[in-house]
Symmetry: C2
Subunit: 221 residues, 2 copies
């Protein structure tokens, strides 16, 4: 697999092209940090975008989530999708309203989504969904039986035609605006985990596992 992502007309970033990247490692780091993918496809009555759980399995994105049964048939033979994962890193406050921006890292993948039907691969994907979101949890939960694996919809998309877009750093005001006297800079943003909330149905008080008590995502703010 090439270290560079496949650059096509639709992955070529023409607006703020200085923010574009086609580096596979950069894309993978973003996919590995993200928690939700927004997946767009056309099942016959117009484009729909839905949030889905996902994980990266090598050079594939595997998807899991709200695929209603009425859409499933359209994936059986492959269906074009666009998968987007976006991480928000900050709000960029400039002198001019026009130059306000956000710091972010995003990946857009284009490809054919196909249903994963092999139960062994579905099991591997299942583990990846859990470990992607909560590293350490897979071994500390009841693993799925055959019936649960059968009942789970998994889609796979090869990561080939894709692009990355990143904005980072301070505002970029025009020189003529630098003396206007407003406060300018960046408000960093990150995902934070709060104290775990025990399930009221848990049969006895148990110690919160370390992977939950110290949960964090990304670099923090």
């Amino acid at each position: 697999m090439s270290k560079e992502l496949e650059q096509t007309n639709r992955t070529t970033i023409s607006r703020h092209s200085e923010r574009a990247s086609y580096d596979r490692g950069t894309a993978y780091a973003i996919l590995d940090e993200g928690m939700v993918a927004h997946v767009g496809f056309d099942a016959g009555d117009g484009v729909i975008v839905i949030p889905m759980t996902y994980a990266r399995l090598g050079d594939e994105v595997v998807l899991h989530g709200a695929v209603a049964s009425r859409w499933l048939s359209c994936f059986a033979t492959g269906r074009h999708v666009s998968v987007c994962v976006t991480l928000l890193d900050g709000l960029v406050l400039a002198q001019s309203a026009f130059s306000h921006s956000m710091n972010y890292r995003s990946v857009v993948v284009f490809g054919e989504a196909t249903l994963v039907t092999d139960n062994e691969k579905k099991g591997v994907a299942f583990k990846a969904f859990v470990e992607h979101l909560i590293p350490g949890r897979w071994e500390d939960s009841r693993q799925p039986d055959d019936k649960e694996i059968e009942a789970t919809t998994v889609l796979s998309v090869l990561i080939s035609e894709a692009s990355v877009k990143i904005r980072s750093g301070p505002p970029a005001d025009a020189a003529k605006d630098l003396g206007l006297g407003y406060w300018t800079g960046v408000i960093p943003l990150g995902v934070t985990a709060g104290a775990p909330i025990p399930d009221p149905l848990m049969e006895e008080d148990r110690i919160i596992p370390e992977y939950a008590a110290s949960y964090s995502r990304g670099e923090g703010v």
Copy 2:
């Protein structure tokens, strides 16, 4: 405008329908808390999903962002889009891997996106983009001149055909799994702002404005 969103075949949530809502007020609260919209459309070479800045203006979503010039023409006469905003509220840890889930609130809007060409309305949208992300900032920055408004692409989508999906609360294990003895519960997630980072090009040290120093989004964790 009806208090209920328009329920059609494609907005009818068939998977976990108990999580669905068609209440306009609920949708608006999610849109007002979100920071990035994922917008899907087909400009002629397959569906693409891109992250965009947005704001709600009454019963419209106005969008702003990475609309490359090669796509602009397709919006001039209206183009079907799907706009999705998702808020992540927590990770749900159940006894069984199968019952792991996420707490979230999401809105999907279907509609025709059209280019806003009226400069007065573009100015209103411009203010909304800034105030939606950073309440208080609009009056504390240089407002756009005619040239900047001309250079800004604004799309508008009427919020009519749309749906809301919400999962909240503790895990929902099958009764047979409740005695398995794993820790179960919810790890709450939220967006957190760090200490503002002053722009190195700011000409003198200025006091960080209160709306930046105390920035928060959502209920926190």
